[in-house]
Amino acid sequence: MGATHHVAADYFDGYSVVGLVAVVGVLFVAVAFGAGQLLRPTAPTPEKLLTYECGVDPVGEDWAHTQIRYYVYAFLYVIFAIDAIYLFPWATVFAADGFGGTTLVEMFVFIGFLAVGLLYAWKKGVLEWT
């Protein structure tokens, strides 16, 4: 089995099986929900349909403004995730012939920049929640 080079026909075969699993999963869930519909009782009462707040009647809306500060984490994550995905194609080739040390250094430079970003965030106190 060649480590890297599969012909595209096998590729379609493989992913069609994966797609079939997804279809099987959807069918399973659909059957489960359908069967559940037949099996279970339905007897709604207004109290039953009330939002659960530990037995007390719900107060106010379900949703409220929250501090936006936590959003910085989301930014951090997306940026680092974009960084991380480049590691995967790199991982498959960096030790191959014709790459080696130079490619390693290239990636270290890439990660280095982002590590600087992480350090910056750390220094700025973004990584502290309280």
Partner: protein, 190 residues
Amino acid sequence: MILTAEANGFLSPNGVEIVFLLVGVVTLGAAVITVTTRQLVHAALWLVVALGGLAVEYLLLTAEFIAWVQVLIYVGSVVVLLLFGLMLTRAPIGRSPDADSENRWVALAVALAAAATLVTVVADAFRSTWIDLDRSVQGSPEVTGESLFRHWVLPFEALSVLLLAALVGAITLSRRRGADDAPASPKQER
């Protein structure tokens, strides 16, 4: 699209094309609902469908790596970021008419212009590119990695600088309000 090898799988090349078209229709539909629905969170969820459909399209074009990047980055994190932001700021259940800018026609014009540009450019760029079923998968991580680190190292490194700039920018933007708060809080303590 012409696929040159004879069918020896469950999906004949023809099948791939059919699936491609069907998924494309679903994706387009989801995208249209995304921009027309009046419920904010629903729009974000339809966006998931559209992005997922796009990932399947990539997959069908043998762009394996890009497809999973699409799922990992867009479905897995950008949408989560969107939902997180919506939940933090404004996500009531039901319609939110106040979030509608009413610029329907402008939006439509921009969308059409963007679509026309993209279709022209992409169709022009890949007019003579065929998927060869007997050769290796063109979009696999290995092939992507090879071309990336053989030919496109400089843009790759530039990308890291861009990401760093984005990071610093995000932090600065979010910190500015913190700096305004900072003098205020000791006063409160006193």
